[in-house]
Subunit: 644 residues, 2 copies
């Protein structure tokens, strides 16, 4: 079954039938505002933090799938359809979805009416823009109705899906002309609201979900749409939504354009009100005025295009392999920018509620985008380093809004600290800017504990040498790159996170060959940076440490045909031919070889051949984070692992 | 619009059309197993704890509403219908739903096929039973297909709706004949699984949701049902469901019965397996064998009927007012039993995730059921008292499984302690059993801090006198009965709970006239219990304290026409004619009058008249926990507030 193709010249993936095996999504977004958008119009958007400031409601794991999005319903003489096929699922005369760089287009048609939607998050504005072009391709005049529809989330996505006693009572909106304001809790503790606007007069609106849909109807059968009659409902509690109804008339061959803006508006605490009980609409006005004409939209799209072309021009490859070129030149870099922005905190499988930014994730992702946006990479390194502990260890994750380490998710993942060295080294290699080593950065977000970045790197490096196990290999701590390799702990309590479960009585003794490989790999960079800073003694000591680690791997980390994965808390080998299951792990082979371990001894080649052999026969391989099952495909996530 | 009527002789509420303004639900359950079931077949079930051990998935605030339940689809020659109308919404020839004491019946018919469903949680078994009787009322033979359907929750309802990265990979089922086992995580850390069985041979089954439904279909359009063809899918990850397909043939006038059992099965940790990798099916077998014949079901229903008749025979009233009799004799007591079991932790508005059992809620509910089940009321009092702090204060809530106080929900609700005195007094008044006062009960769940119940009551009583404010009235602490009256604190942080927000710099100085009224109300009971235990000095001192409180209310708690509500942290009156808004609160009028305050002085009558006047004109009244808006009607929740 073919669902689409790559359009390399426009850097697009073109989906040609809507019923893909799973919704295929694009990530739209700039620095602050992000939108997930599927090929069938599903998804949601948020400002900065997918948990705390979510604009629209989205229901994960729903029936049908992918419920909620930005819907545009057409009622054309009683035939109701949605251009993304879902949710109404009327059979369309034509359909395509184009996921491009920072935009998604949905183009479809039915009964002589073509619908062309371009959705994007413009640079510099906290909003998404949906431009709809409607064209009558028949020879007679067409009159029909278009209904927009979004469902507002009450900001905190976790609270939104649990605290109904409160939430059903607090919803508040305001409708003025073609502008719908979602202002729940603005009177109380929030200084932000959402705005949903269309640049045309409306013939009706709805803001109360039940009035629009009917209590017992799905998104596929909203009463207002099927009856062709907006209710002009003003939500008070329950579920606030935003829907504009527009009666459209198109002469034969005529085309009309409508621009919808859905945005986040924030005011300073002391400028919340224009007058008593009148919300300050200035930020909404700014968005509305910025996208009120096709020219403005065209210009914003051109800027977006230029932005991506410039970014992607930094680095490109031309090889004999079109697939390699496509991935390297476009999609892999695009994905790296997505992970820069979101660090996996929100996707179609991450609900945006449970996790923040990973210390390791964010640093390794950085290796993929440092050449694109070095200044912002530097800021990111600073944020990450500021969550490091004084002993060199790290919180495993931190919250994007507070930038504080999150102990709920655990710590003690002993590969984490080394990633910081990789990140800083990559920054210097890319930019030549060594001043980053002098940046003063807090430990544990405490300014009183600030120290130069070079000192952070030293703590990272020393954290490994200070935590060696019985074989002279690095202690794995709670786990390493393979988050599930929790060798020191086990939990028998349902629901207890392995990431935070306490260690066995044997203590923290398990060792990681993977971290050893990382250590040897990063040592030359670390030594070079020490030398840059004139830390000769430290450089010498690091050289010795790297040599010792090299030898420890050669002695205790080699299994005869490949590198071991680890030693568990009982001293048993993990990833050995002696094991009943999981005899070989790909991870240490990669990193040990990248560190040059066993190259001259011929071990490296042997190890890689062992991997290749098993990849070829697909036998016995334990991949880290294997793709779960059949449909775990998100366009934006292609090639996200590993960065090396 | 009329949606139904009370059938007093059978103690049922009969719903005569399915599209009620909101789903109208019944609570089925015994001590351990609970089911919420709506008139359109929606709802879910859990074992003991709605968050930790949820058997079936339910989506709150969904579109359409009430998505998920125990569905029975009929495909009768291509016409597909569901007897509860939802989710397929085919127009039925007849429909009724009967919510009775511990059971719900749904009876409907279409095209000469009648469907009669009786659903209940049998006494003594951790399961729900659904008996389906199908009858051909035509004069020709009928052949059709019936599909059962439930969707399994992966036990932890919170994790189930957020942790998709993991959850989509772990689902596991087993199908043997007509029995579907949902055994996700059983191999790992759980010693429990769910079973879904029908007492008849099946002609197919499904356990993978997508195979059954189709990815883009709602519950209203499952592919398997509409095509009349089960997929015999075996879930591995993604969304495990349970569906039996049965080809039914009915001669003219013939009726057949099918018994479905959906249950919770737990094994001791060392008896999880019958053999290597074969789960111990003994607990499932026990359920299946207990409900394999109509006779067994009839007997279980009779037992359930007897159980309720016996319970409800304890106390009844016959008045000239049929509505009063109905509420007092049946529904209010039924509701009290529901709150005994769940203490509001799960409903159609409480997601069963966010809260445990309330200290106050559980004690005040007890006043409503102590006459029904005094032994269990005594256990409940014990549980509650064991969460009390040594200074007499209380955690505001505790978790039903651990019975430990939950500090996440806050403490310092200064009416909480007094409820314990009401509860114990009610128990003694009902049973005459004074030995409860000698029960040794821990403070803060610490056996080392155990003390007699009488000492707990003293700490409760003294907690008020030890915490008096500037006017000699009780400090309100974080709030009182009105949880939202957070007079000492304010939060400007979105999402921060007012229940746990810290106090203003002015400190904890706000006072509650409501608690004063409670104190004076409960004092006679407390004094009587002191005297029972020979605590003469304590009794005398309590008398003086009550008199002083009486006087404090008369002096500082009277507003001229009614009782004040409180003084806030700045010493301002709350609930006074001087206030711009909220001039009168009903709560202190009730409790002060129940305490006899101002009766002889004529204040009590004046206060109640002030209330009545405003209730009559519906002006200016601030009700505690007002019914939110139009549709907050749950059959089981009628009259849950207040207990007095």
């Amino acid at each position: 079954m073919k669902y689409g193709y790559f359009n390399d010249s426009d850097r697009e993936y073109v989906i040609t039938r809507p019923d893909t095996p799973y919704p295929w999504i694009n990530y739209l977004g700039n620095e602050d505002f992000f939108s997930l958008m599927s090929n069938t119009s599903g998804g949601y958007c948020f400002y900065r933090d997918a948990r705390m400031l979510r604009l629209t409601r989205y229901r994960y794991n729903n029936v049908p799938t992918d419920a909620g999005g930005r819907y545009f319903y057409i009622n054309d003489g009683g035939t109701v359809w949605t251009p993304g096929w879902m949710p109404v699922k009327t059979k369309l005369d034509s359909y395509e979805c184009r996921h491009g760089m920072g935009y998604t287009k949905i183009n479809s048609s039915l009964n002589g009416l073509t619908f062309r939607q371009t959705s994007f998050v413009p640079l510099g504005y906290p909003c998404e823009v949906h431009r709809i072009k409607l064209k009558n391709t028949t020879h007679i005049k067409k009159s029909f109705k278009m209904f927009s529809f979004v469902e507002f989330c009450l900001w905190n996505a976790w609270d939104d899906q649990t605290n109904f006693q409160r939430n059903f009572s607090i919803g508040e909106v305001e409708v003025i002309g073609s502008t719908i304001y979602h202002k729940t809790e603005y009177r109380e503790r929030r200084n932000h609201y959402a705005v949903f606007h269309v640049n045309a007069p409306v013939d009706g609106f709805d803001t109360d979900r039940e009035s629009f849909m009917g209590l017992y109807n799905g998104f596929d059968r909203p009463d207002a749409v099927f009856e062709g009659k907006a209710r002009n409902s003003v939500a008070s509690g329950w579920a606030p939504v935003g829907s504009h109804m527009i009666n459209v008339e198109l002469e034969a061959g005529e085309e009309k354009s409508f621009i919808f803006v859905l945005g986040y508006c924030e005011n300073p605490g002391d400028e919340k009100w224009e007058a008593q009980d009148v919300i300050n609409k200035a930020p909404a006005k700014r968005l509305i005025e910025a996208f009120s004409t096709d020219e403005q939209v065209d210009k914003a799209l051109a800027s977006l295009h230029d932005y991506w072309e410039k970014l992607l021009s930094t680095y490109s490859v031309k090889s004999a392999d079109e697939k390699l070129d496509r991935m390297v030149n476009t999609w892999n870099q695009y994905q790296c920018m997505v992970t820069f922005n979101m660090s996996r905190s929100a996707s179609y499988f991450e609900s945006g509620i449970g996790r923040g930014m990973g210390f390791r994730d964010s640093t390794q992702d950085l290796l993929g985008f440092v050449h694109l946006i070095p200044e912002r990479a530097r800021e990111r390194i600073y944020d990450i380093a500021a969550t490091q502990m004084e002993d060199g260890s790290a919180y495993h994750q931190y919250q994007p809004l507070t930038k504080k380490g999150n102990s709920d998710i655990g710590s003690g993942f002993n590969d984490d600290p080394l990633w910081l060295i990789f990140g800083v080294a990559a920054y210097i290699k890319e930019t030549g800017d060594k001043s980053i080593l002098d940046d003063t950065v807090p430990f544990d977000n405490d300014e009183a504990k600030a120290a130069p970045m070079m000192e952070h790197l030293k703590r990272s490096f020393d954290h490994v040498t200070n935590n060696l196990g019985p074989h002279g290999l690095p202690l794995i701590g709670h786990a390493d790159w393979n988050d599930c390799l929790n060798l020191n702990c086990f939990s028998e309590t349902p629901g207890e996170s392995f990431q935070t479960a306490s260690n066995r009585e044997t203590g923290d003794v398990a060792e990681s060959v993977f971290i050893a490989g990382m250590f040897v790999s990063v040592a030359p960079d670390y030594i070079a940076m020490c030398e840059m800073k004139g830390l000769t003694a430290e450089a010498e000591s690091a050289k010795r440490a790297a040599e010792e680690m090299y030898n420890a791997v050669m002695t205790a980390g080699w299994d005869g045909e490949w590198f071991l994965r680890a030693y568990d808390a009982f001293g048993n080998k993990v990833g050995s031919h002696e094991c009943e299951e999981g005899q070989i792990f790909i991870e240490p082979q990669g990193f040990c070889v990248m560190g040059g371990i066993g190259v001259k001894e011929g071990y490296a080649e042997k190890a890689l051949n062992s991997v290749k052999e098993r990849l070829d026969t697909k036998y016995g391989i334990v991949l880290n984070n294997p793709p779960y099952t059949k449909y775990h495909v998100e366009l934006g996530e292609i090639s996200s692992y590993p960065p090396g």
